[in-house]
């Protein structure tokens, strides 16, 4: 836009502002859920420096602000992938087959806490936790049951597993082999993002250095043998759930992403050999526009840095593909049905932001694991957005909105400012060591809580329109007998397998861990002879040690 025109708009805007200033405004501060002040009106003045070709471009073209595919949802709508798992492998297998029958297009496995932390179900540490907030998986046998009658060459599976990701991945691959599916046909994702564990989710096992080695071993093995696998899902979701702002989620997640790229390069891999299989995972919080801008900014930052800083040339390395989950932390225990509405708005922001796959939370997840009915409503929410709302008809429909473009730029600038601070601290690992991310997130979480307590932020049914009605809702209950049953089956497995082969495989694994071989083939050997997850983790702990955090608040 030419300067004269902008000057005229500036002049008129000033006059409008003077008139608007005489009108009364509501008392709550006008800010996003991240505490970002929002102006009353955005105009071309806020986009004066925007260069369409350089900053937005076309879908499927650099810098991918408008989306990573040429035709986005006009080709195929996003993958509807509900995260699910509870009880033992039999219970979860039933739920997966139900979801596939309901039209879900991909699976997403939630593991229980012992599996996530690398303990078998019979460990003292697992008491009371088996099958509680995900499915209990101890060995390849459980993995075989989990995917019984589910063809692994046709369904892709995402697994939320980090510390022991390599082990659960090997179990999945070994099971695919047993189904007769060759590894180059197997598709899916492992979360495998240990940096955000230290930063936010706090489910770690090994210290950073060996954890990063396991990750680069996975990159390398997948590049050779499992080319359709997303080897990592670099996650902002948990950073946000832990209380970060949108800008922190964006900045810390991308900083982690670049740290993995650097680790891969340092391990001797060509960036274009592994970067195409890196994927991302973001939160969809309740502040509609801020979220949409976050996704758009994320794609642009990733593409620019990958090209300019890391010299990636394969365009697949430049395209940020991401999964989105609606914000668990935005749900309320009070009047849980309201969560259906929150989730619908959040899901719509993810779609308008160009997500590749989506999980919509169930209304009852703030109270327990979701019931079948609640999951079905959550899935239907996505189907209504996809096929009724019209949101999937045109690509990046909010582009060109003065507000959306201004906020996209602002988020990008804030992320760049965080990258500089992280660099000053010596990079992501030293910043973790100094508690930088942890403290930033703790501060933001506390600020948020104070804002809610002051009613600067309104939460309907909690700090406003609170009716203190008793919750009337049927919750999913996990039978305590699940734990006993799982422990019994594990005991039987340990008696019936070839224990000499297990011992040999674990000894070989330890030897490799002490050296520098790629560990994935050794872990494959161990899971094939039914070594348990806990046994493999224990063997690796002997060599790698365990991570400990300094508790701060």
């Amino acid at each position: 836009m030419d300067k004269d025109k902008l000057d005229r708009i500036a002049e008129k805007k000033k006059r409008w502002q003077e008139e608007a200033a005489t009108a009364r405004e509501r008392s709550e501060p006008f800010m996003t859920v991240s505490g970002r002040p929002v102006g009353a009106l955005y105009t071309p003045l806020d986009n004066a420096d925007l260069d369409y070709e350089k900053d937005l471009g076309f879908p499927g073209s650099y810098p991918y602000t408008r989306g990573v595919q040429d035709n986005m949802y006009r080709g195929r709508v996003w993958t509807m992938r509900q995260f699910s798992g509870f009880g033992d492998a039999y219970d979860s297998n039933n739920r997966y087959r139900y979801l596939l029958e309901q039209g879900q297009t991909g699976l997403s496995v939630a593991f229980d806490m012992p599996t996530i932390m690398g303990y078998d179900s019979d460990s003292e540490r697992s008491l009371g936790e088996v099958g509680r907030c995900g499915v209990a998986i101890d060995s390849l046998e459980d993995m075989e049951i989990l995917f019984d009658q589910i063809p692994l060459d046709r369904v892709t599976t995402s697994m939320t597993i980090n510390g022991p990701a390599a082990i659960l991945w090997c179990m999945y691959l070994a099971n695919a082999e047993k189904q007769g599916v060759s590894l180059d046909k197997v598709g899916g994702t492992i979360q495998n993002d240990i940096l955000k564990e230290y930063i936010a989710q706090k489910s770690w096992i090994f210290p950073p250095e060996p954890s990063m080695r396991l990750i680069t071993d996975i990159f390398s093995f997948a590049a050779d043998h499992v080319p359709r696998w997303n080897t990592i899902s670099i996650s902002g979701y948990h950073i946000r759930e832990a209380g970060s702002t949108a800008a922190q989620e964006l900045a810390f997640t991308l900083a982690d992403g670049f740290a993995y790229v650097e680790a891969g390069i340092q391990a001797g891999l060509n960036v274009d050999r592994f970067a195409p299989r890196l994927s991302f995972f973001f939160n969809a919080h309740i502040d509609f526009f801020e979220e949409i801008c976050k996704y758009r900014a994320a794609r642009r930052i990733w593409a620019r840095r990958m090209k300019e800083k890391y010299g990636a040339t394969d365009e697949r390395s430049l395209k940020m593909r991401f999964h989105t989950q609606t914000a668990g932390c935005s749900l309320t225990a009070q009047e849980p049905e309201n969560n259906i509405v929150r989730t619908a708005l959040e899901a719509l922001s993810a779609v308008l932001g160009g997500t590749q796959s989506l999980h919509t939370n169930s209304m009852d997840e703030v109270l327990a694991l979701p019931s079948e009915k609640a999951v079905k409503i959550a899935l239907r929410t996505q189907q209504v957005i996809a096929y009724e709302s019209g949101a999937a008809n045109t690509i990046d429909p909010l582009a060109g909105s003065y507000f959306v473009e201004a906020l996209t730029d602002q988020l990008e600038a804030e992320a760049e400012a965080y990258f500089r601070r992280i660099d000053e601290l010596g990079g992501v690992l030293p910043a973790i060591d100094q508690g930088f991310f942890q403290q930033e997130i703790a501060d933001a979480a506390y600020d948020y809580q104070r804002a809610v307590d002051r009613e600067d932020l309104v939460v309907v049914g909690v700090n406003r329109y609170n009716t203190s009605e008793k919750v009337q809702i049927d919750l999913l209950k996990i039978d305590p007998a699940v734990e006993e049953k799982q422990v019994r089956r594990l005991k039987k497995l340990k008696e019936s397998r070839d224990n000499d082969a297990v011992a040999r495989s674990l000894a070989a694994l330890k030897k490799s861990a002490a050296g520098s071989d790629n560990l994935i083939p050794k872990i494959m050997d161990a899971v094939r002879v039914y070594a348990t997850e806990g046994e493999i983790v224990a063997a690796l702990k002997e060599i790698f040690g365990e991570y400990r955090e300094k508790p701060l608040f």
């Binding site: 907030c133 706090k202 489910s203 309320t332 809580q449 300094k550 508790p551």
Partner: protein
């Protein structure tokens, strides 16, 4: 400043079990500190033994447990018993997290917890409750 006679009320905020959701525990810990209590935070992944041991060593008046993994019906009674075995029967037991209402009622009825807070409670409700007990 909140004091029992001449001593500040001491609170242990603990994360027993395996889940890593420490947002609530840390926000509450800071809210309690800002309200004038002496707060000790255990950090994550504590065994019941570790929680009871820390409570004893730190000579606390209140134990606040944060559990979001669904293991509360196993962990809370175990910690309560270990505290009692350590002669800490009169410690105020407060629990927060994802605790379904009927579980909360049972924990209180069996004397394993004095109070259970649900998601969405304002900090003032929590600090106010503890102040009212001293």
């Amino acid at each position: 400043m909140i004091q029992i006679s001449s001593k500040k009320v001491r609170i242990l905020v603990a994360k027993p079990g395996l889940d890593g959701h420490d947002r609530g525990a840390r926000v509450v810990a800071r809210g309690l500190r800002d309200a004038g209590f002496e707060v000790i935070y255990t950090g994550l992944h504590q065994t019941p033994e570790q929680v009871a041991e820390t409570a004893l060593q730190e000579d606390v008046d209140v134990v606040g447990l944060s559990i979001l993994s669904g293991a509360h019906m196993t962990l809370v009674p175990r910690i309560k018993k270990m505290l009692a075995d350590n002669g800490m029967n009169d410690v105020l037991m407060v629990v927060g997290g994802i605790i379904p209402e009927e579980d909360a009622e049972e924990l209180i009825k069996c004397g394993n917890a004095d109070k259970v807070f649900n998601p969405g409670e304002p900090l003032e409700t929590i600090t106010g409750y503890i102040k009212s007990k001293f």
